[in-house]
Amino acid sequence: MQLITCPWCGPREETEFRYGGQADLAYPADPSALDDEQWARFLFFRDNPKGAFAERWCHDAGCRRWLRAVRDTRTYVFAETRPYGRSTV
């Protein structure tokens, strides 16, 4: 049972969180400008690195804030967790 440090609530057990997949996949400014392959890449393709991976978690059972984490996929160790946007403390 890992601890994930919610930037707002502090360290909590991972069961309080919901995984949100890879981070930093911005929604395209104009999806209609993308061809089918580009759109399919946005929809379906995700990185799968061995090592540091930026990902999103939502503290569902707590403050309901999304956070951006960097986790090492080899060790599971979280290098950092940061709040998003307006949820800056």
Binding site: M1, Q2, L3, P11, R18, G20, A26, Y27, D30, P31, S32, L34, D36, W39, A40, F42, L43, R56, C58, D60, R64, R65, W66, R68, T75, Y76, Y84, G85, R86, S87
Partner: protein
């Protein structure tokens, strides 16, 4: 009897009675089944799993590979270790022939969990653990000290001295100091069985049957700032011929049984060792009255120990070894040296050195490396947050152990010289009779077969031979197997390593892992404020997510089909009322609320006027339908969104996701109000009369209160919101009130509708009524691969908005494939068969159209699948069964007959549009 006076920590003033293999025995509090049976001279407890050879006790605690018993009373439990099972009055056990038997009844004893937070967790209350805990307590830290044995002290027997006094006195003093310290929790009979991320350790506390504690076993979920592993070490056997015979034991086990339980396991004892520690066992057993002889496998016996043995009259023979044992179900002699000289004895004690118990270090990725001086694997690197001290770290001299664990205020002990150990995994002999893992009947020959088959990894050898896979997980056999494999491969054992240690360290009952998460507490039950009225009305409930929803309200003698037909008829012909409180509700507020909703719904919400209601569909980026519901515009900057019951949390997360991570500039706030508001749906041609009667101040006429509009009013001073929303096609109102008042409002509606025979209806009726109108249920008629267009709901997809979630995907070629499945209705042509939901839809082939127009034949496989039935009911209104189905190109096949396999028949069904009742929509306005 082999009990000796003056030894042991058992309470000899009290006697407990138990039964083993049908024979009554007695023991004392403090005894284990093993010690009590050994005290009675019982050395064979069962037979082995593959070869049926006799099996007895080899170790004295969890490391024992041999002494498995089946408990029958007080509760059946399979394969417990006699060495760890405390004797209690009335205990009934028997030996096992390799395997035990699970109970056939539920375990009703109480098991629970407890969360514990501490600065320091110390695992092991031997000398290392005690001084480590004391040091932490003195530093003012929150300390938890756990130890798996019933009493503290570890291997200290009282013959050692600490700070100049007997070690047992020292133990008592430390325990007393810890008990008096604030913030120290000291638990005996508690096994730390797993070490996980971030200082998380699971420990199983065994309260036993007789202690009167609230739970039989408790799992402590410990979160520690620092974990100190002081778990000691486990002695290792030396493999020799017929070493599985009862009467072959670890030297430490015999010493432990003497000092803990006052049991002298043998009268004529041979000690075969390559390590100094076994000499203490030899001298202690000699002192307790046994005739003892030492065979030291090293070239020379250690001088100090040899002198003490000589003084005591214990013969020592060095530079030779023990090659095998003789006997039937118990050792009667051993074979010494190359000449296999027969030496009579009734007990062979072996000591091949020690394996540090570093499992909890290894669980979290701590590396182990072979130490030539130790002749064993020990922790090889520092791990943040975890410290290993004492024998678990490969430190054996007591003075060194105390210093390593206690730091600056460590107590002192006499220095001792430890003579170098010899690496000896086995002695020469017949590999087929040299047992590496006696719990698995695995021999050196099995290891040789694995190596001969080309295996070079200890992990592969383990799985090929099953060594180390029994209840003891190779505590005594694992490293020996590595050593023998290395010898056979001609490689150093350090290069091979050990197999991976994984939790649990010792077996843990599933009942303990489940704790209180069983029965009614297994899963939360969510109920609405009207729940008790549904119960009183005899409702049958169904689970929707965690919610209990009333499914139907059977009258006496009614089955579900009859009750649902009655409820449906009531709504279509008069009026019904349903508790819709479980719908997800989200208050969406802020200047940019409409912008957010326009983006998340496929249709336009910004054009919705205050006071009006709009149905909306949400899709994923891939264009597939995720959820649907109604949207009420409460104010220019405020909407109330409803979601399906099961999707409420998901939809809210998704909206927050957009707001927090994609568009944080939007000024919108979301608030879950699912439980704030209860929704009671009043549906049917008489609903206007009922709502009008309860809310006399509201003009409920169609002109004043149009379809898809809402109005606020009050009842008894309590604010109420009315909305003209219909999920049945009938004239209908949704009545919303703060949930505190919902139960009373439910009663008021029932009373107001009594003259019209108002009928409470459940989710099953709701499903039938909506299906008759072709309204899909997200998650039943859709499965994540269905677009709004597939549902025939192109009208809900805006063509005006430049973008919304899912829009781009609608332009993908796949989405305009004419072969996509469409939602259609299916009417069985026999007007009698209810098609099972989930049935496949295939082409219909006539068998003999003249005779059986409604039945066809299934062609030989492969049979192309056209789709499947998603919803299927009997309709009171239509007087026949009907279904909804997803069918390839369905909307282009209206009127066609397809086949649906039902049992061994192919039922003919005609494809039609989805709206089967009131296609003109004349009823919604009453």
């Amino acid at each position: 009897m082999t009990r000796v006076e003056g030894y042991g920590r058992i309470d000899r003033t009290r006697t407990v009675s138990f039964t083993f293999d049908g024979v009554p025995y007695t023991g004392h509090p403090g005894d284990t089944v093993a010690s009590a049976l050994l005290a009675h001279g019982v050395t064979t407890l069962g037979t082995s799993v593959r070869l049926g050879r006799p099996r007895g006790v080899v170790g004295s605690w969890t490391e024992d590979p041999g002494g498995l018993v089946q408990v029958e009373e007080p509760f059946p439990e399979p394969m417990l270790l006699a060495t760890t099972l405390e004797v209690t009055d009335g205990l009934v056990a028997r030996g096992v022939a390799g395997r035990g038997r699970l109970a056939q009844v539920a375990d009703t004893a109480r098991y629970d969990h407890r969360h514990v937070h501490c600065d320091v967790l110390v695992v092991g209350a031997g000398p290392a653990g005690l001084v480590a805990a004391r040091a932490a307590a003195r530093a003012g830290q929150d300390v938890v000290l756990v130890d798996d044995r019933p009493t503290p002290g570890g291997t200290l027997t009282g013959t050692e001295t600490v700070d100049g006094r007997p070690a047992t006195e020292f133990v008592d003093a430390v325990v007393a100091e810890l008990a008096a310290a604030p913030h120290v929790t000291h638990l005996q009979a508690t096994t730390a069985f797993g070490h996980y991320d971030d200082g998380f350790v699971l420990a199983l506390e065994r309260h036993g049957e007789t202690t009167g504690r609230s739970a039989r076993q408790r799992v402590h979920r410990i979160r520690a700032g620092r974990v100190v592993v002081a778990a000691g070490a486990i002695e290792r056997p030396i493999v020799l011929e017929d070493n599985d015979r009862p009467g072959v034991m670890l030297a430490s086990a015999a010493r432990d049984l003497l000092h803990r339980h006052g049991v002298l396991v043998g009268r004529e004892v041979v000690v075969f060792t390559v390590d100094d520690a076994a000499y203490a066992a030899a001298l202690d057993l000699h002192g307790a009255g046994a005739a003892v002889r030492v065979v030291d496998g090293r070239a020379q016996a250690p001088a100090g120990w040899a002198a003490r043995c000589a003084a005591a009259g214990v013969p020592v023979e060095a530079g030779t070894d023990v090659r095998g044992t003789l006997g039937t179900d118990r050792v009667r002699a051993v074979l010494v040296g190359e000449t296999r000289r027969e030496v009579p004895c009734d007990l062979l004690l072996v000591s091949g050195g020690w394996n540090p118990t570093a499992h909890l270090f290894s669980h979290v990725g701590g590396p182990l490396a072979f130490d030539d001086e130790l002749v064993g694997f020990r922790p090889a690197a520092a791990l943040p947050g975890t410290t290993v001290v004492g024998a678990a770290n490969g430190t054996f001299a007591l003075a060194d152990v105390l210093r390593e664990a206690g730091g600056a205020d460590a107590p002192s002990a006499e220095p001792e010289v430890i003579t170098p150990r010899r690496t000896l995994w086995r002695t020469p002999g017949d590999p087929a009779r040299q047992f590496v893992d006696i719990a698995r009947d695995a021999t050196v020959a099995d290891v040789a077969r694995a190596v001969g088959a080309g295996m070079t990894s200890v992990e592969h050898v383990k799985r090929y031979t099953t060594i180390g896979t029994a209840h003891d997980q190779g505590k005594t056999s694992g490293v020996v197997a590595s050593g023998i494999t290395a010898e056979l491969l001609g490689r150093p054992v350090g290069a091979l390593g050990t197999t991976t240690f994984r939790p649990p360290y010792t077996p843990v009952p599933f009942a303990a892992l489940a704790g209180r998460d069983r029965g009614d507490l297994y899963d939360p039950v969510r109920t609405t404020p009207v729940h008790h009225h549904h119960v009183a009305a005899g409702a049958v409930f169904e689970d929707v997510g965690m919610w209990k929803r009333a499914r139907y309200y059977p009258h006496p003698g009614e089955d579900m089909a009859t009750a649902v037909l009655r409820e449906c008829a009531a709504v279509r012909r008069s009026v019904g009322v349903m508790d819709g409180s479980t719908l997800g509700k989200i208050d969406v507020r802020g200047p940019d609320a409409a912008v957010l909703l326009d983006h998340l719904y496929t249709n336009l919400m910004s054009t919705l006027k205050v006071g009006r209601v709009r149905y909306g569909v949400m899709c994923g980026d891939d264009g597939m339908v995720l959820d649907d519901g109604t949207v009420l515009r409460l104010a220019e900057d405020r909407f109330l969104v409803t979601t399906t019951t099961g999707n409420a949390a998901h939809v809210l997360d998704r909206m927050e996701d957009w707001l927090q991570t994609e568009w944080p500039h939007l000024r919108v706030r979301l608030t879950s109000v699912t439980e704030q508001w209860s929704i009671l749906a009043v549906a049917g041609p008489r609903s206007r009369d009922v709502v009008g009667r309860v809310f006399a101040d509201v003009d409920v006429s169609n002109d004043a209160f149009g379809f898809m509009t809402w109005q606020d009013t009050a009842l008894d001073g309590v604010p109420v919101r009315l909305a003209r929303i219909s999920f049945s096609g009938e004239l209908a109102f949704e009545v919303s009130v703060a949930s505190w008042y919902a139960a009373d409002l439910w009663v008021r509606l029932l009373e107001a509708g009594a003259e019209h025979g108002i009928t409470p209806y459940g989710t099953e009726t709701m499903h039938v009524l909506r299906a008759e109108k072709g309204y899909p249920i997200i998650g039943q008629d859709t499965d994540g691969t269905v677009t709004p267009q597939d549902l025939g709901m192109s009208w809900v997809v805006s063509r005006k908005k430049p973008d919304f979630v899912g829009k781009r995907s609608f332009a993908r070629p796949l989405n305009s494939d004419p072969g996509r499945k469409h939602l259609v209705s299916l009417l069985p042509t026999d007007a009698a068969t209810t098609l099972p939901e989930g049935s496949q839809v295939v082409a219909f082939t006539d068998r003999d159209p003249e005779q059986h127009a409604d039945r066809g034949v299934l062609p030989p496989p492969p049979v192309p699948m056209l789709g499947h039935v998603t919803s299927s009911y009997r309709s009171a209104e239509l007087g026949r069964p009907f279904a909804l189905a997803l069918v390839r190109g369905g909307r282009d096949r209206l009127g066609e007959v397809v086949g649906v396999p039902v049992g061994d028949q192919l039922v003919a069904a005609r494809i039609g549009g989805t709206v089967l009742v009131d296609p003109e929509g004349a009823r919604r306005d009453g």
